[in-house]
Symmetry: D3
Subunit: 320 residues, 6 copies
């Protein structure tokens, strides 16, 4: 943890929430603090999109919606993240919109500068492609990780139009790169048809287990929490949330919405059941604001990030 | 109850629902009946808003959406409110948009003319500030009440920018004014971070108990109904519903949406579990139509008001 | 089943999903195959609407949203419909927008050409009026059917403005025509007030049982599935889904939205619990795209149709 | 003119414009005054629509947008209509949505009660079908009229799907009924392709002259005003404005938008150039609010109606 | 010209315009006719976008909006294109979304199959990148061309993020490839700030002249027509229209809107002033439907394409 | 002018425009430079609104839209403002949303710190109320000014609901405070009805002349430029632009839209005709993003601000 007393967000009693430059929950910019525990960084890249593009505007939209949060005490996690750790907004990582390979390198390079032994990074996408360089940067410091992946889709597909780097393949690439601990990773929220049943066989070979939305129907969220905790144990975990894990009713503003998804309360309940896991990095991706409505999708993403801030406060501050 | 046979809404078989001046569910205007049991009144005030303004257009939007209802027999409550009581649309209360103190006085004065020993008022907000003058007008006739408050937020905060009258403080003001019976009031649907954990301590001192959305996750709606009934008993109850108690998926058109909220079916189930409580007034507030989508928020508000009409029919017509 | 190996949709690995003329899930047009098992046909008629019109644009919107599906393996139903049966897009049925009686005749005539002993038709509405000619065409081949009807509303009302053919009356007309097997039909998802309590009495006389949304609150989806299976048994079933059976949060783009509806996961769970029923035809109606948001309603409709394709694959391919 | 001093709209200094039941510019309802000079009446009928329906919601949307006007002194016409004449809001005419012939009869009957020797009616559509019964009702009192018709389309087409009464045919029907003075009528704003060049020949036979948008490009608005004045002279004029005469940029919320239309300033300039014409009735039609954006279309319609109020004040109050 | 009598669009009197699979103005698909004069083809590629992506959905949106046109007699051009030439809808060109170089090759290859000595192609973008392969395919048959380019932006910029193929550079690439006749090309509608004044110097070196929107303010459209006609003479012309040449009021649904643009009437007037030019190919690009409103942008694009059809009918049918 | 070479915006060739924290056209924040010539500051206050509120979100929306500009060379003004002067983004002025008097004092105080002898401030509103404290702060340094005011409305009204400080009164207050040079001020773009003809008489007494939109119809923009230049001469000018001066087609996202307004090209042409005037401060106000569409209003506001930057570069850099 940083040695100084954390500098918190702008105070809403002095500056109305709709005022001022919109860093994430109005946190200090990275340049304004001597050191930090957790950096929140935007990665406005959507060159890996296969259907609706637009996640390049995700970071600015999620920051704008995050104004609505009152980033203080979190009742369910019983903590005030911004008082326990130094959170900062590290701005956006600039990368080319035209070349997925290059973009992934640029992102890895920039993210690597933010990651550290005692420093976590939370990325705001961009499309899901950005999880690959985030994993590369993170595992360089922390070694292989368990991936806890909330999504409607497996994202372990192969190349698409001869392009191995796309938003449907980051976790196959991560597996091939040896970034994932064997048999520890999980998908949560999977649903919908797939082009080929073999997709599941390959996914299994990459070491994933799946909790489908229909599993939640049958067994409920507490059972799912148990399955996740049992499988991951104390392995370092990278958390990757594709906002399309939520039903389109809760997150219309996304690139490949899928009917029959998780409700906001379910994913919040799951995250709050995962305190104490060894989280070492995270991303929330695939917010495509052009398809959003009254900021409901951006706000959902911002809320999830605030919960991740709480989970990191738990972990980094060494709570049990 | 009025002595005459109630005059009901315009008949949809003769005048299509999209036709005619839009009073609430096309009820008669107050001037058109000799007397009434329940007045529905708009209070288009949003000067107390702290984030997204626009609830001043709430009354006109909720009335427009209420055209979609068929205001007859209510299966779950087994009653036809408009046949049992005389409901009227009392129009809107005119008040200044610029001065919260004055507006609150103007609202109280106008509402007082509508309230009566055997007359209930249902207010359509406007922002939550309007609950304070509504409580003042109501308790002048009925004495202190239990407050049953559905909301994402406590609304027992203090002054904001030196203004004691705002949409985050009505129930602290009501408590200070002695309008609330000690230890009978409840918040339902609370969630999200707060600036300071002490907010809950103060809220408790003002005599509130809280049912959080995470309580609903754990215990379900029937348990919550039991808690409400046990606490309130037969104390006169004022019901105040901030539409943001619903998740943004169900109510995007509001000023301070909060992810992880109640689903429409949950709040309807709760209300229908509260028949027989001694309701003496109510409001439904914080519909901000500029952020709505296909009238889903306005329609939710109109539906809740129709359920309140049923609860009042139960109570006033002396059903057990 | 057709004797040839089914011709499937356009391959997404060769032609991106946003490319090409948008037949339903990019299936072949009816002219492009020698024969078919299941025809999907649009019926862009909304002359029976009583509130918000616009379902005439339903077929084009649902086809457009269906691009988002990956129409391959269906995990819950464990089948790949487009490999088991020949599905085709039969285009739209042209009919007058101005005369409900004539339109119904034109639709019946056109639908009759698509229906066959071993051929099912899935209609995309259009308003619910189109269920009547669909039932007429279907029962001419298959005899009277059980109707399994998902809807917020009964749709067994009588004439409206002297017009017996409208979107609130198709199932009363079907009953009067003797198209329904006695005491086998069911409504699922009913809610909201009705003009008159007698509506339920008449509905009962027409041989319907009702599962209200509040029944789902109390008993859950598995119990509802059991009730449906018990009642229908192996009677031939026509499935009619009004998209307003979903809550407005999940389906804002419809003509008469009703608060407190089914969630997407609930209806999908129900359909998937009905494998083996003797489905012989279906429709999904009342998508009104002008009120939709980011295609969430159209996508829900497309997803339901894909599930129906799975149920038909089950049935026609003789799986048990 | 009425003998009493006109009762004006609600005063905005006492009741904010977003408050109260929304009659047109908050005029008194017809029941609230002893007599009137001009009645504004909604005709929420869209059964004649050939493409996008929804104009049934036109009257409620135009009234809502009219709140934005400050209905006092009109600089260009140098008059304060509501002080010179008694204007009232006569509510909506109820008619069947299902049968164009019947609807037209119902509208004629209801409109006839509002029309009078010294009483003008301004109708808010509804689709353009409603111009036919408006003309029938008006000419019964005033005899045949010159039609001054602003529209992208001729609306002198014939039957469509065997239905002679539809929104593309009102003026052919009016011509056939002998409601139009020979060689006095004009279309203004015509543009876009037509199915057949003969449409223009027939239109000419019905006694129309045409000012196309491309004529405005070439000659400007003042020349167009001159052409209109010369042709119409002092013949009694019925003014019919289809909002799609405006370019979709100015009026997106309409049923059959047509690119390349009039700009708002052009139509206002034209109307203001027509003072002194012998206007005896008018309609503004085809606002389809589901396609509108921030009320720009409804506001345009409301503004045009206010200008018509000024033209009638000119005429009825006998100014020269 | 084809030797057979042209097969026209679906007849709107038999099949309502909202019915049926939506080819452009409901023209026959290319497979349905023996030969054609003009092919309209979609190119759903937006990988060259620098700001708002989404033009990949341009072709489907423009086709949907084109239903609104009545594709018959064009008054200003005095012709009925679909009766004079055989127009077809050639579907969409499939290409990778991930690699601009490859995509451009794929598009060139596919377009080359459609182009011919007496066959013109009109492309619906897609972003402006697609003009490059269109020019390559076209000039292979017709030799170098004059480019008539309507746009807010020059599109003669260089590489962006090291990518020479992007939507800001097609015409520099075309110039470098020798596809443009020296000193014959023109930009029309240019406006807004540029990164560097040198952009204009280079643009001039590539042989372009510029008509800025401010030139239109000063000189009017007829003068601009004269300038274009004088410069181009009878050189073969390729016409490329970026929809952002229109002001955002007329075309909000585009990737890089620029305030102060052309009005719809101005561009239509210009096109109609260019009859007789030797048009040999065209595109209309940069419609990004996620940002559109009530289809106004798509409809503008469809209308421009219909005018281009008229210009080609003029030219190919040898009118003078 | 600052003595250092100006630090310009983030380079778009290195950081895509959708990346990074969104200061206005991505200028440096005020803290990042030693000194500045022109500060752009947001004033998110909308407590003076009389109809649609929401301009508190104006500054964040205008900054977001300003990303679309390429803030380099301005062709019409032949300058590159950011190379000639040091422009900075000074963030937002925090003020109470609840008390207009206090807010005005807070704004004046904060603005006064930014204003200076050789320092201009451009304010982004907020509602028009903010022009009053801006004028107070500006005239403290520069003495009384001529006001050049673009607006649909006079904004010289009096108190509204007893509140003298509101968005309809800033210029009456300014006149009363002696902030305006007699007989030098002008309104441009006025239109629409007013409550009372006397409004114009009073307005005249406050020393204003008016150019109505109908004057532009008659005389054109060049004549209007001449009138402005003649009247103002070399008096120091404060420029205040209410975005509702534009027609709702060009600026739907505003609080009190008025049909028949200026087109974007007209206001740009006017501004560009005013080079050399002695501009000493400016504001662009009344953008209400909740009513905007595809950012067209915000983009119009950002574009106008960029033109003002050019006018200031002209003036401060002493060009003639």
């Amino acid at each position: 943890m940083v040695s100084h007393s954390p500098i918190g967000p702008v105070e809403a009693t002095k500056v109305p929430r709709y005022s001022g430059l919109g860093t994430f929950v109005r946190l200090p910019q990275i340049e304004a603090v001597p050191d930090y525990d957790v950096a929140i960084v935007g990665i406005p890249f959507d060159g890996g999109t296969s259907y609706r593009p637009g996640a390049r505007f995700g970071p600015s939209a999620v920051r704008q919606a995050s104004r609505m949060l009152r980033p203080g005490y979190h009742t369910e996690l019983d903590c005030t993240p911004v008082k326990e750790l130094q959170f900062v907004d590290a701005g956006d990582i600039a990368c080319t919109p035209y070349n997925n390979q290059k973009a992934v390198e640029q992102i890895e390079q920039a993210a690597s500068k933010l990651v550290g032994k005692n420093k976590a990074v939370i990325a705001i996408g961009g499309d899901h492609t950005i999880a690959l360089p985030m994993l590369r940067a993170t595992t360089k410091v922390h070694g292989p990780v368990a991936l806890l992946h909330f999504d409607a889709h497996l994202d372990t597909w192969g190349s698409y139009f001869d392009e191995p780097i796309n938003h449907g393949s980051p976790f196959r690439r991560a597996f091939e790169d040896g970034l994932l601990v064997e048999d520890k990773s999980m998908h949560v929220g999977i649903r919908g048809p797939v082009y080929d049943q073999d997709d599941f066989i390959r996914d299994h070979e990459f070491g994933f287990q799946i909790i489908r939305c229909t599993d939640l129907d049958r067994e409920g969220v507490p059972a799912a929490i148990k399955r996740v905790r049992n499988r991951i144990g104390d392995t370092p975990v990278y958390l990757s949330i594709d906002i399309d894990v939520l039903d389109p009713a809760f997150a219309p503003g996304t690139g490949t919405p899928e009917c029959g998804g998780m409700h906001s309360r379910e994913i919040l309940q799951m995250l709050r059941g995962l305190t104490g896991l060894n989280f070492i990095g995270a991303d929330v991706v695939e917010v495509a604001p052009a398809y959003d409505n009254a900021e409901v999708t951006s706000l959902a993403a911002a809320t999830l990030i605030f919960d991740i801030m709480g989970l990191l406060a738990y972990k980094i501050s060494g709570r049990s």
